[in-house]
Symmetry: C2
Subunit: 106 residues, 2 copies
DNA sequence: CTAATGAATCAATATTTCTTGATGGGATGG
DNA sequence: CCATCCCATCAAGAAATATTGATTCATTAG
């Protein structure tokens, strides 16, 4: 219960945000740099409302940031979040490493 | 669309398997080493049926392995899967790294 | 062979998540 | 102001996931 449980809910949120094709595609798109919703809507075949929903999920997981400029909202990847994700995965790695011996059961 | 898309579905499956509190708790438990369902059922407050369901999700994502011994099924973390996860996260990291410049929009 | 045990599976229900279309809000251009 | 544009939000319905209890299956003990 050591490391994972501290940020268990956070881990769940992070992984959930990443467990969707559309959202992963969005992240890939944002690889090109900061982009506004209309660009993303054009690039991916998706309605504005749908993307807005997924962008919100990504944002609430802390994976992306937004910035307003006039009527446009620009979204970009938050590098800190990716580090956080790495940390979580590292924890899992530790978990896996220590999993060795079997005990007699029941 | 380079690296992520190759294993997009796989990534989704992996992340989805990890996006649940019960399943993360299971992985944490398996940190102690190989364990049978009855042990896990005792340790976590969960019905056998429920755990069986989540173990299946983890297994189908390739995160854990099972081994039969008599009437007991032993589950353990699959270290390969954790590496795979690392790879996926590394890809995301690359994505984040390259996300720098903003373009004029719309 | 029969009974009992550990666990998977199934059907039904509940819960969560996603999609769609409509509405509203903030900003800009005229 | 007024109309328009970009986007968030909302309500409703659809779809996917999760939980529960019952059943089934495989294995072992007697």
């Amino acid at each position: 219960m050591v490391a994972l449980s501290v940020s268990l809910k956070k881990s769940v949120t992070l992984f959930h945000a990443l467990s969707d094709e559309t959202r992963l595609a969005l992240l890939e798109r944002l690889k090109e740099g900061e982009q506004c919703v209309c660009e993303l809507t054009d690039a991916m075949k998706a309605t504005q409302s749908r993307l807005s929903f997924h962008l919100k999920v990504l944002k609430e997981a802390g994976l992306i940031r937004d910035r307003r400029e006039g009527r446009w909202m620009y979204y970009s990847i938050d590098p800190d979040a990716i580090e956080e994700l790495e940390t979580v995965v590292d924890t899992l790695k530790q978990v896996a490493k220590s999993a060795v011996s079997a005990n007699r059961c029941c």
